[in-house]
Subunit: 83 residues, 2 copies
Amino acid sequence: MKAHVYVTLKRTVLDAQGQTVADALRRMNYKGVADVRQGKYFLLTLDATAAADPTAAEAEVNRIAREILVNPVIEEYSFRLEP
Amino acid sequence: MKAHVYVTLKRTVLDAQGQTVADALRRMNYKGVADVRQGKYFLLTLDATAAADPTAAEAEVNRIAREILVNPVIEEYSFRLEP
């Protein structure tokens, strides 16, 4: 079982990296992109014990994200479990 | 219309960042995580012209990913369009 965790800066936080990419795209004449936000992506591979109980796996991934992967002051996250 | 682009190191490339996270999780007694890969996540907001033609939007996002966001030597990507 795999867990895909997506971490982005909160909407209210300035995303300098994303703006730099957006500016570069504009300068290089790529059309159609209004805005870019950049974030982090984690792919966790869960072992068989975790995979046996999806509810527990979801709780564990939530805990790992909140306590380790994400800075809750400036970031938010979402995740998706893949069997 | 939004495009979510996920960029990860190829399977064959050593992911030191991901391994560091995995080691930290093990040391801190989080159970059930066998492996971690870390990558980048880009959220592109496409403007109305792009949104009007999903096929063209898909081609443009593919082009932006290949030419700007991804280093094809060591990285691979996938993306998803959200209306």
